[in-house]
Symmetry: C2
Subunit: 215 residues, 2 copies
């Protein structure tokens, strides 16, 4: 099961499945069909069956997928059955929001350190973490076995922070700055973008309605 065998699109859909499966599990729903998953998640059921078939023969015809079993399998595939430590760089509004959000996560992926380069932010608290100066990044990444870095600094600082994270030995980066980062091929970089979600929504607006109220 190597990363080059499964497309990024599939890997990105797995957490979406996982979220809904967790919800079903909370509601004590034992099984779910690909039709139901498809309807709920706005995906083609055939696509879902194909996605899940990458990882083995989970589903049973006429019964569907065993929710608990599928959760366990996806968690294993996504390596969520092990603790993965994350560092966040940039203690601004977005950094705060992500840290708060992370507190809700049942997953074993945890923000264990927050860094900033600005004097007033360093030393302040985000949840239970003290914001550390960026100079401590290297030592902390090693001490806390941090493997993933989240970048929530302004655009102009993002590439420098990425370089520092890579230098510190991080393996993957989630970048929230709306720029494309340069990184060596062994470092996985995902760029998160609110605007992708927002802009694609406009497609579904009704044509012509924008004139209604202004005429």
């Amino acid at each position: 099961m190597k990363s080059d065998k499964i497309s990024e699109a599939v890997v990105r859909r797995l957490p979406v499945y996982l979220r809904y499966l967790n919800e079903l599990h909370t509601r004590e729903v034992p099984t779910v069909s690909s039709q139901e998953l498809g309807q709920k998640l706005d995906l083609n059921p055939a696509q879902i069956r194909k996605d899940l078939a990458y990882f083995g023969d989970f589903g049973r015809k006429g019964i569907g997928y065993d929710v608990s079993y599928l959760i366990e399998k996806i968690r294993h595939i996504l390596k969520l059955d092990q603790q993965i430590n994350v560092a966040l760089v940039g203690a601004g509004n977005l950094g705060h929001a992500l840290s708060n959000y992370n507190m809700y996560l049942k997953e074993t992926m945890k923000i264990v350190a927050v860094f900033d380069s600005l004097e007033p932010k360093v030393g302040s608290m985000i949840n239970t973490l003290v914001v550390q100066p960026i100079e401590e990044l290297g030592a902390t990444v090693k001490a806390k076995s941090i493997r993933i870095g989240i970048i929530t600094v302004p655009n102009i600082e993002a590439q420098r922070v990425a370089d520092q994270l890579i230098e510190a030995g991080i393996e993957a980066i989630l970048n929230f700055a709306p720029i494309i980062l340069k990184a060596p091929p062994h470092i996985r970089v995902h760029t998160a973008d609110f605007t992708t979600d927002l802009l694609s929504l406009a497609y579904y607006l009704e044509d012509g309605k924008e004139h209604e109220t202004n005429e």
Copy 2:
């Protein structure tokens, strides 16, 4: 060109194409091949050609896509060649981050009103906008021809805010609360989820490395 003819996955990829095309345009690159787009965006070139073929025959063999023309076409398809007004409900850290982010957008989709239900936040400024009490939602949506609502309130308030947005006449919702919202079928709801990006990154981490430092 109706919404039911193009899959959500395709519509969601268009802003990703657009972002990179805008970057090429800034760098004055006149044409781009599906191979290059694919490499840069981690997508299959055949998938890209198929996606863009939905909207007409843009590419020319051996030359590639005209960057300016493709930008214009995608903007038109996504309805970004018209002003679309957006309301944000929830003036917390995430609401602030999104509003700041929105200031950078060249797109015509703009947050034109921010609402909150909490006393200390109401009346404060986010960029150039005064945070309004949620009671003013209905009147403001009408007065400002707002068509999309962004929800950045705590989970427990998200469904109520969604109901208020729908009642106010909004057509689509971008929800940042990690819950699944109920909405009538004519209202398009996208749920944004940081964790999808973050969790899918773990897949690309090297196996076994998590034991290295703790043994």
